[in-house]
């Protein structure tokens, strides 16, 4: 049996042990002075010993100012007051070790009655780790957000029609920013499915990019060539030893690359479009965090490449359609073209005949012969110009953007429809602006649009009095755009129907296809412009289009 005294002293000892051995720092505060503390408190605050610590005031254990900007002394008073009033108070605090270093703690104050007054039982828990983890988490959330925003920006670029190489370069740069020391590239598979085409690799050495561009794909063609060939990811941890790199070993050495992990990029239907690769300058295997990046990269690259291919296809179809429309227009112009060519031919044949009979005479006036020959030569050139103008419109061609002077294009077209206008007794007035800024467009397609508008205008005046048949072709600079307008004196347009005109297969002509205006509008829009119709104030219709003015001025 142990006595009550003994029992009490056991229990006190136990309490003392709990106090002393607690991993949390515990201090007792009596009226602003520490009266006791445990070993954990001494260690946490890097005090020389318990005596040193007990000689200190709470303000010695904090920086002057807390992170929220309040003074430590004032705030400590406030916290103590709350604890005394409520019995308990818990808050975060910035503490200061004896060596001056600061660290965050969670402070718990408990008011305890002791010898007829209240003392405070203070527990300090070091929350440096927790704070660190919180900061890490916030940081990673931030970088996640930045990564997602970056993806959004790349998708935005695709939607806004940025070039594929710009989109892919931005994508590669975005992925590279997510991991230190990583170099990325996107490659495309050629349309025939046999060769590698450069996509984007802003940080790969030029020599490497050059060598890969155009290389065949196959079962042993580096990481990317093999990945595209197999339709599966290919992980090469060391390019200098992997058999897949046997034929490209030197290139890898020269470019200072060691690891290359490549993943195929697929269409929505599972067709290989290209590959996305991650490179490192040391032998390295993926750790897992790259998988998510690769997934994002191949997904977005797939969208970008597919988008571009669809755009190209559309462009191709559009240009085929435009070509058909041009040929059709030329068919309508056939009679005029025949006349146009016969005009110089008539003069050529006639002048040649005259020369021949002159040469049969006894006395030949060589000056007259020379003049006639000069005329023959000029007319020959004229005929050939007419033919080459027609040829360029009828020939198939891939539309190309180039800086153009809209007035020049208008002159070409007026030359082409000049005779059709004469035939239909239409007088063409041209009011073409001089020194207009250039527009970026395809010459033949712009000619086609203007040709179409002129032909429509001439056609629209079929029932107009012969002396009223006037077609005006204008080009002017207007608010940062270059504007072309073709006005006629025909029936005009009902305002409600002015948009209907641009619908495919809308026609007022007996044998019209109804595609002219629809095609014209799609051509103008493909160069970033607008095409619209309105009624003239003086009767008749006016069709106008505007194109963004380039910085260059073309004389």
């Amino acid at each position: 049996m142990i006595g009550a005294n003994q029992q009490q002293s056991h229990s006190e000892l136990a309490l003392r042990l709990v106090f002393e051995r607690s991993p949390d720092a515990i201090l007792l505060l009596d009226d602003g002075v520490f009266i006791d503390c445990n070993q954990a408190a001494v260690e946490m605050l890097r005090a020389a010993g318990k005596d040193e610590l007990l000689s200190l005031l709470p303000s010695d254990l904090s920086p002057t100012i807390q992170p929220d900007g309040s003074s430590s002394a004032a705030k400590a008073q406030q916290m103590i007051a709350v604890a005394l009033e409520r019995g308990h108070h818990r808050f975060e605090w910035l503490a200061k070790r004896r060596n001056g270093s600061e660290f965050p703690v969670e402070v718990s104050l408990t008011s305890i009655p002791f010898l007829q007054r209240q003392i405070l039982y203070v527990v300090w828990r070091d929350i440096s780790r927790r704070k660190e983890a919180e900061r890490e988490l916030a940081k990673s959330r931030e970088s996640d957000d930045a990564f997602r925003a970056g993806q959004g920006r790349v998708l935005e670029m695709i939607a806004q029609g940025a070039t594929l190489s710009d989109v892919l370069a931005s994508l590669v740069t975005l992925i590279e920013a997510q991991s230190e020391g990583m170099i990325c590239s996107v490659l495309q598979l050629s349309e025939d499915g046999k060769h590698i085409r450069h996509g984007a690799a802003p940080r790969l050495p030029e020599i490497y990019v050059q060598a890969v561009n155009g290389a065949p794909i196959g079962p042993k063609n580096g990481s990317c060539g093999t990945a595209m060939y197999r339709g599966q990811p290919v992980i090469v941890t060391d390019m200098l030893t992997d058999p897949l790199w046997e034929d490209y070993r030197e290139l890898a050495k020269l470019s200072g690359l060691r690891a290359c992990w490549s993943t195929p990029i697929f269409t929505g239907h599972g067709k290989v479009l290209g590959s996305f690769a991650m490179y490192y300058r040391q032998p390295q295997a993926p750790t897992g965090s790259e998988a998510r990046l690769t997934e994002v990269a191949t997904h977005i690259a797939g969208i970008a490449i597919e988008h571009e291919r669809a755009q190209n296809e559309l462009q191709h179809t559009r240009s085929e359609l435009a070509h058909v429309a041009r040929v059709t227009t030329m068919g309508e112009l056939a009679a005029s073209i025949a006349h146009e060519v016969n005009q110089p031919l008539g003069a050529i044949v006639g002048n040649a005949d005259i020369c021949r009979s002159w040469l049969q005479e006894k006395e030949v006036d060589l000056k007259l012969v020379a003049e006639a020959l000069e005329d023959i030569s000029n007319d020959g050139h004229r005929a050939s110009q007419i033919i080459s103008r027609i040829r360029s419109l009828v020939k198939k061609h891939v539309p190309e953007k180039a800086p153009l002077n809209l007035s020049d294009v208008a002159r070409d077209v007026i030359g082409l429809v000049g005779h059709e206008a004469r035939r239909k007794q239409v007088i063409i007035h041209s009011q073409l602006g001089e020194s207009l800024p250039a527009v970026e467009a395809d010459r033949v397609q712009l000619q086609q649009v203007l040709l179409n508008l002129c032909m429509n205008g001439i056609e629209a005046m079929h029932d107009t009095d012969a002396n009223q048949r006037q077609l005006t072709v204008q080009t002017v600079m207007s608010n940062g755009s270059v504007l072309a307008a073709v006005s006629d004196r025909g029936m005009g347009i009902e305002p409600a129907k002015s948009e209907q005109l641009f619908k495919p297969f809308h026609t007022t002509k007996a044998n019209g296809m109804g595609m002219g205006l629809a095609i014209s509008r799609s051509i103008i829009e493909s160069f970033g412009g607008k095409l619209w119709a309105e009624s003239n104030t003086g009767g008749g219709a006016m069709f106008s289009f505007s194109l963004p003015a380039g910085s260059q001025e073309i004389q």
Partner: protein, 212 residues
């Protein structure tokens, strides 16, 4: 009175073709008067010499066929040779029906054009001669008194003096005097010629009217 030298009027909006036609016309020793539109031609005074018009069918503004229609209403319709870069049959038919001398699609044989121009000038010369004669007869007729005109009308109808005197309520002698005045003023050798003159004045009532 010697005749003024004939001219060829060329109306064509194509400069080089006009030059060629001038050159061609010069090879037969004739002068050209060029115009680049039907309107310009109409604004100029009509030629006072034998002339032939070489006209392009298709021109801006008034076309060649329009001009032909206008000229047909004139006192002296000029003979027209048409040229075209690309003619169709209905166009040719219309032009020829309206009295064109020729219709040529470019290119054509120079000799054919020269022949047509020569024929056109010959036609115009003939027309001018007839118009001059008619004007002369008309002038003589205009110099008759109203009584003489009545006698002229009745004589050329084939009425005898006696019948005329009865119709006009006068004596046969008076009619005889009028009749000799008429013959003298009209410078007719015989009644037969007087009848021909009356015929021409009536055969061309429009022209008669216009010349009156």
């Amino acid at each position: 009175m010697t005749e003024k030298p004939p001219v060829v009027i060329v109306v064509d909006d194509d400069d080089s073709f006009r030059n060629f036609l001038s050159r061609l016309v010069s090879t037969i020793g004739l002068k050209t008067v060029p115009f680049n539109s039907a309107e310009a031609f109409l604004a100029a005074p009509p030629p006072d010499c034998p002339a032939c018009l070489v006209l392009d069918v298709q021109m801006p503004g008034l076309s060649g066929l329009d001009l032909q229609r206008r000229l047909a209403q004139a006192s002296r319709p000029l003979p027209i040779v048409f040229t075209t870069g690309h003619g169709d049959i209905p166009m040719t038919v219309e032009a020829m029906k309206a009295g064109a001398v020729g219709f040529f699609s470019k290119p054509f044989r120079n000799q054919d054009m020269i022949d047509a121009i020569k024929e056109g000038i010959a036609r115009d010369r003939e027309l001018r001669k007839q118009l001059d004669e008619l004007a002369e007869i008309q002038a003589r007729y205009d110099s008759l008194t109203s009584r003489e005109r009545e006698v002229f009308a009745l004589v050329t109808e084939g009425s005898l003096n006696k019948q005329i005197a009865h119709k006009l309520g006068t004596s046969e002698r008076t009619i005889k005097a009028h009749r000799s005045q008429v013959v003298q003023k009209m410078k007719a050798d015989s009644v037969a010629e007087l009848v021909r003159m009356a015929d021409r004045l009536k055969i061309h009532p429009q022209i008669t009217q216009k010349l009156a």
